[in-house]
Assembly symmetry: C2
């Protein structure tokens, strides 16, 4: 089953003129007579001519399309980022290809290879949790392929990036828990390879120190796959509860960890926040519908997408090599609900 498109040749043949004339007429060139132009326009309309972007891409060596690599579109944070990306990209005449790494280094590499070989004009990336070898990104970037990192970044590659003030997000949230009177605040975090993990952990530790709370090593658990696999989170919680002195609150430093942790605590029949306080990074507007409503650190995901794509287009459309790079830092928002309010109970 073949889908045959109308080409410039069909128009030329129909009018008995050359393809170059048709091409120029369609682009409203000054060297074509008005008469011919309108004739061409008419038949183009009549035959329902649509320019072939493949041919254009080949000729112009650009595709007017951008690639995005995230771990999962099913993650509300990323789908919000994508909405931000698209809102700008479409206005500027770019199409967006979305690919998923599912936290796998291999799939990420596949996607990267696919996108670069498919000649996208630029790529937006939030790294997979498995990625700590950056040579592929580095090579492509140095060869002149515009790349911008967001959310999960790495300093190895010299380019623009957009991130959250992860330190502040975790600091504020931890401080809030401390001020609520929680004493033994556990943290569940993602892989230590991730930039966001370290920054958020630093915020957590700093808040403890500021308020003279001694950090307890066993109270920090890492989930390598950021809670993509539920069992991982369950495991982490189990370990926390196996301690002689249980935590009286948990802060989760990533979206899936937060929901996974809530699920585990509920399955254990625990009352939140009476039995244990809970707060964490989360970007779904469903958090206020939960039982209990969750205290969350929310990222400006939509803005992050917008900023990232703007920086990318800046690279893409720049005439000469860009050498100074920008790192934008966005502010998190702490939304306090019942899950962390010790005084109130539920």
């Amino acid at each position: 089953m073949k889908y045959e498109a109308v080409t410039i040749k069909d128009i030329a043949r129909a009018l008995g003129i050359s393809t170059s004339t048709v091409s120029r007429a369609l682009r409203d060139s000054y060297e074509i007579s008005e008469e011919t132009k309108s004739l061409v326009m008419e038949t183009a309309e009549k035959l329902n001519y649509k320019p072939n972007p493949i041919a254009l891409s080949l000729k112009e060596r650009r595709t007017r399309s951008l690639g995005v690599i995230v771990c999962e579109v099913a993650n509300p944070f990323f789908s919000q980022v994508i909405n931000g990306i698209e809102s700008i990209a479409y206005n500027r005449g770019y199409n967006v290809f979305i690919t998923q790494s599912h936290e796998s280094f291999e799939k990420e590499a596949d996607a990267l290879h696919f996108l670069s070989s498919r000649s996208v004009d630029g790529i937006l990336v939030s790294l997979s949790t498995e990625t700590h070898d950056m040579t592929q990104f580095k090579e492509l970037s140095e060869k002149g392929l515009p790349i911008v990192f967001f959310d999960r970044v790495i300093s190895d590659v010299n380019t623009h990036s957009v991130v959250l003030d992860n330190f502040r997000g975790a600091y504020d949230c931890t401080e809030h828990l401390i001020k609520q009177g929680f004493q033994r605040i556990a943290a569940i975090a993602s892989s230590e390879y991730l930039s966001i993990t370290n920054e958020r952990m630093a915020g957590y530790y700093e808040a403890l120190q500021t308020h003279h709370v001694k950090p307890v090593p066993g109270l920090v658990q890492h989930c390598f796959y950021s809670g993509m696999d539920f069992a991982e989170v369950e495991d982490a919680v189990n370990k926390l509860f196996a301690m002689k002195q249980r935590p009286d609150a948990i802060i989760c430093l990533s979206d899936k960890l937060t929901t996974g942790c809530l699920r585990t605590l509920k399955r254990r029949g625990l009352k939140i926040p009476d039995d244990i306080g809970l707060a964490g990074f989360l970007n779904t507007d469903l958090s206020e519908l939960m039982d209990p409503p969750l205290t969350v650190v929310k990222q400006p995901a939509y803005e992050m997408g917008k900023d990232a794509v703007e920086l990318l287009l800046q690279l893409v459309e720049s005439k000469r090599p860009v050498t100074t790079f920008e790192k934008r830092v966005l502010s998190p928002e702490l939304i306090i609900k019942q899950s962390s309010l010790k005084a109130v109970g539920s």
Copy 2:
């Protein structure tokens, strides 16, 4: 800033042979000596040659890519469908472009035009709520562009489709509410233009009739934009509560309606299910974390994506025009939780 890729010419030049020889060597043609082949392979490796898919597409008149049009990737149902689509597509060597209509006919048309002019080999569509003019789809389909509809379909266009047994989903859910002893069961549904709306409404009415419950006109509310705008849902609930006789349960016939309705009821300070029962279509695994845990009709979204893309590839790869079309119907799953359990209370 230009990203210059290595071409077949570079290899040819490096070896002092012709491009055709290189091309054939790379494709392991029998008319090239083993010696030359390995020489070519080596330098291709060394120069990090990647074939240019744009050029290939132009030549082969196919792009090995598929387009998807959904209203929102932020909707978990659709992101699950997309995961299903990708799982199959990538294995078969196809890339997937995802575009969003945001329930707008115009944006949907833009996306359709964009995808078709970008020469994707086929398109998967779940219609926007505004769409009731199908001429564009029809024209493209009749011109030979493979299109498969899923979820929100329409019978105008002669092609494959994959849908839920919407009737059954609504029927089972309504019946469950009746059996729980609810008497005045309101329904909040999407636009009447949508196939899913009518089928689900039919299931609702049929369940009422089977169990000798008289339908009350005022108990059915429609939200044109399927709850994309929260105010819409709030409005619908307000109307229900303005009635002389309030409903004692609500069934929501679409994902965003269900969460929106829960939000409204909670804001009104109502106890669910004591003050009012609630159930609805919903595809997030967060529903059990909610307050109360929601009774939901869940769609096999991942399977729907897989089925749809399989049917599409069947069209795409078929040598001769396909004339008989399949309509796959998938079964919903009713997951009963507290929100609809009258006997228990919370």
